[in-house]
């Protein structure tokens, strides 16, 4: 099936084209069938390709399919080529698998919305772009996917375009991502300048095979520059400090979009890119340290903001930012497989959490405020149980998926000599458990804080929504077992990814005995349990503690609730000056003064010159006749005087 690799992105593209061009005339069930069929078909091809890949020997699992030459100009050649190796295989399975499930969920969630066909067309287009991104065999095609997912993200955040906040959020996401993309494209340019090629294999082989030309960089070198530029792109797409601000606002989009794009797949593109470029990053200690530091800071900061937010989707958004931070920590300490492992398990449980939140919002008729929920357990049992599982998984409770992947990251940080990173990650794990169970308790337990009218309408979602929840719930439980840590058995997931990371530099790090690792795993569970207990105590046992605590630590609560004032600081430091400079300098001086002045000046000058000549054209035939006569005489005179 690997010969049909091109089908994987093409099927969603066809689905997007059919629904986008002709969907207006189709009934909703036809639209849903086309969109879900495209996603499902793509998933099946991806699955078959994956099994074909498994049949090969581990060192043969690297299939480069070249389809055609896309750009050829002098020395520069860019080909349309797909690369199927363990890394991209994991990515296409996550993207198409979770994508398919979310497509099915969307049928139920979006059934009452206008522009049903538009929604599904964009969703399929997103799948296409994302698959191009992860399958691409060179940096340029990857950039096409990179921009494509950004476009789809923008379109879907602004799906409710009649709401001003949604339009603003879409623009914010697009502009912030543009900043990151500048870094990414500069990195790609630099790669081309240095290597004369953009193909992954060619670039990475050159680095690995010429250690004298590309030594391990402890200081600033060319690989550091490339790595840092690429990482700027990753901070934009994967919502890391300082460019994370767009993701919480992106929650303006429909909930399935938040689940697919802003939790499970697109935002992990940065992690994927860093791991894909592991041969570059692993040879530059500065780049790795930057990735690690940004990752851990983002993880901690977003988790603290998540503690006090009251919008159910915003809590999850900050949680996503925080978990993405974990993935970058993994990459930053050199444990690239652990990052991809967490990417995969996170896709399961975070998509589940978002879909569950969507189911809650659906049941509550659009209510998103946690403070107006409560006691929903009785009304929406399936949503409750699946979200409960997902919350346990993200908190890192043994033996759910999140435990294995998160613990692997924390263990890697410790065992590779970054105790501070471990400590902050450890604290973040506790915070994660706390805010996640705060969400669960406020939503599903305790007193009902909603109005009687809302309660009257409370209902469990239709099967098209609950079945995806159950599927993702099962994945959240068993997803971690493919990467069991060394103290239980051998880690098959890491062994599978091994060939993709073969060209990376793997420094020696001290080996610890399994009992030490087991001890740290125990610590992780304890801190998670502590977080859950605290949430239980504050929000269930004595519900008034929360308000009292907030009143006691008013300053901190306010700081967290207002998200460290980052949006305000950006507004004051960047947005406002840019707006002012644009208004005063670019608009009023450059545009109105210079450009309009030049255009109007040209017109005025011509008018001035014309005022001398225009009297000739006075409309009097006799005057014209005189001029013709004088002209004829002048010509005759000229001929008789000078030509004879």
């Amino acid at each position: 099936m690997t010969d049909y690799l091109w089908l994987i992105p093409l099927i969603p593209l066809i689905g997007a084209a059919i629904n986008g061009l002709a969907g207006k005339r189709f009934s909703k069930s036809v639209i849903a069938f086309i969109a879900c069929g495209a996603a499902g078909g793509s998933f099946i091809v991806a699955l078959l390709s994956f099994f074909d890949l498994l049949k090969l020997a581990p060192d043969q699992r690297h299939l480069l399919k070249i389809y055609f030459t896309w750009i050829e100009s002098g020395d520069f050649v860019a080909k349309a080529e797909f690369l199927l190796d363990p890394l991209s295989a994991v990515m296409i399975l996550v993207v198409t698998g979770v994508g398919f499930v979310i497509h099915v969920y969307s049928i139920g969630y979006m059934h009452a919305e206008d522009g049903f066909y538009r929604f599904f067309s964009y969703m399929n287009l997103f799948l296409f772009s994302m698959l191009i991104l992860v399958l691409s065999g060179n940096f340029l095609l990857m950039f096409v996917g990179w921009e494509g997912v950004g476009l789809c993200s923008y379109l879907l955040i602004g799906y409710y375009f009649d709401r001003r906040s949604a339009g603003d959020a879409g623009k914010k996401a697009f502009i912030v991502n543009r900043i990151g993309d500048i870094g990414f494209i500069l990195g790609v340019f630099l790669i081309f300048v240095i290597f004369g090629n953009l193909n992954f294999d060619a670039v990475f082989r050159k680095i690995a095979e010429a250690p004298e030309q590309f030594p391990l960089e402890t200081g600033v070198g060319i690989l550091t520059a490339i790595g840092l530029l690429l990482f700027v792109g990753a901070t934009g797409k994967s919502a890391q400090i300082p460019l994370y601000v767009w993701l919480p606002d992106a929650m303006e989009g429909p909930t399935p979009v938040s689940a697919l794009i802003h939790a499970a797949t697109m935002v992990t593109a940065g992690v994927y890119m860093v791991v894909r470029c592991s041969p570059i990053f692993s040879r530059s200690s500065i780049a790795l340290e930057v990735v690690m530091t940004i990752g851990i800071l983002t993880a901690l900061m977003a988790a603290t903001i998540g503690l006090v937010q009251t919008d159910i989707k915003r809590v999850l958004a900050y949680s996503t930012v925080s978990q993405l931070g974990y993935m970058f920590v993994a990459a930053g300490v050199g444990a690239f497989s652990a990052g991809i492992f967490h990417l995969m398990t996170h896709a399961f449980f975070k998509a589940l959490l978002f879909l569950g939140a969507g189911s809650v919002i659906h049941a509550m008729h659009g209510e998103q405020d946690l403070l107006r929920m409560g006691g929903l357990r009785r009304y929406t049992p399936i949503t409750f149980w699946t979200m409960f599982i997902a919350a346990l998984a993200i908190s890192g409770i043994f033996p759910l998926a999140g435990f294995f992947s998160k613990d692997e990251i924390l263990w890697s940080a410790w065992s590779r000599g970054h105790p501070f990173v471990w400590f902050f990650g450890f604290v973040t794990a506790g915070l994660t458990a706390f805010y996640m169970f705060r969400l669960v308790f406020l939503t599903f337990f305790g007193d009902a804080r909603h109005s009687a009218e809302v309660r009257h309408h409370l209902h469990e979602s239709p099967p098209s929504m609950t079945v995806p929840l159950i599927v993702l719930g099962i994945l959240s439980i068993v997803g971690g077992f493919i990467g069991l840590p060394a103290w239980i058995g051998s880690n098959r997931f890491f062994a599978f990814l091994e060939p993709s990371l073969a060209l990376a530099h793997h420094p020696e790090h001290p080996e610890f005995s399994h009992s030490v690792e087991l001890g740290f795993a125990g610590l992780s569970i304890i801190v998670a349990a502590l977080g859950i207990y605290l949430a239980y105590r504050i929000y269930l046992l004595r519900p008034d503690t929360a308000a009292a605590l907030a009143a006691r630590c008013k300053g901190i609560h306010r700081l967290l609730y207002r998200k460290y004032y980052v949006d305000e600081i950006y507004d004051a430091a960047i947005v406002h000056p840019a707006l002012k400079a644009s208004t005063d300098l670019l608009w009023k001086r450059a545009d109105a003064g210079l450009i309009d002045g030049a255009v109007n000046g040209a017109g005025k000058a011509i008018q001035g010159m014309a005022s001398i000549l225009k009297d000739v054209q006075n409309g009097l035939i006799r005057s014209y006749a005189t001029w013709i006569l004088l002209g004829a005489v002048a010509i005759l005179l000229y001929i008789s005087l000078f030509r004879s």
């Binding site: 225009k614 054209q617 006075n618 409309g619 009097l620 035939i621 006799r622 006749a625 005189t626 006569l629």
Partner: protein, 99 residues
């Protein structure tokens, strides 16, 4: 009678036509002056044709006469329309085609 005599007559007729075209205000007079200029040219064509013993000039005279006939038809039509619309035959009143 030499060629020069015909040419002098032709020139004088042309000048009368041209000056009349410029100084006359009545559109019918202007029109007549125009015809006068055309026929002045016709005269010199004929004179040259005879002088050079070639038939070309005479053929051209027929061309000019055909054009003059067509032009007379169109011109008189314009004159009638002008009179109906403006109630005048003064060419200076038909001066709206300007900047």
């Amino acid at each position: 009678m030499e060629l020069i005599h015909y040419l002098i007559l032709s020139m004088l007729l042309f000048l009368v036509g041209a000056v009349g075209f410029i100084i006359k205000k009545n559109i019918i007079s202007v029109f007549l002056c125009l015809e006068l200029m055309l026929n002045a040219v016709n005269l010199s064509f004929i004179a040259f044709s005879r002088h050079l013993n070639q038939v070309h000039g005479q053929i051209f005279v027929f061309f000019v006469m055909v054009v003059a006939a067509a032009e007379a038809a169109v011109g008189l039509a314009i004159t009638i329309v002008l009179y109906r619309n403006r109630n005048t035959l003064n060419v200076d009143d038909a001066d709206t085609m300007k900047w």
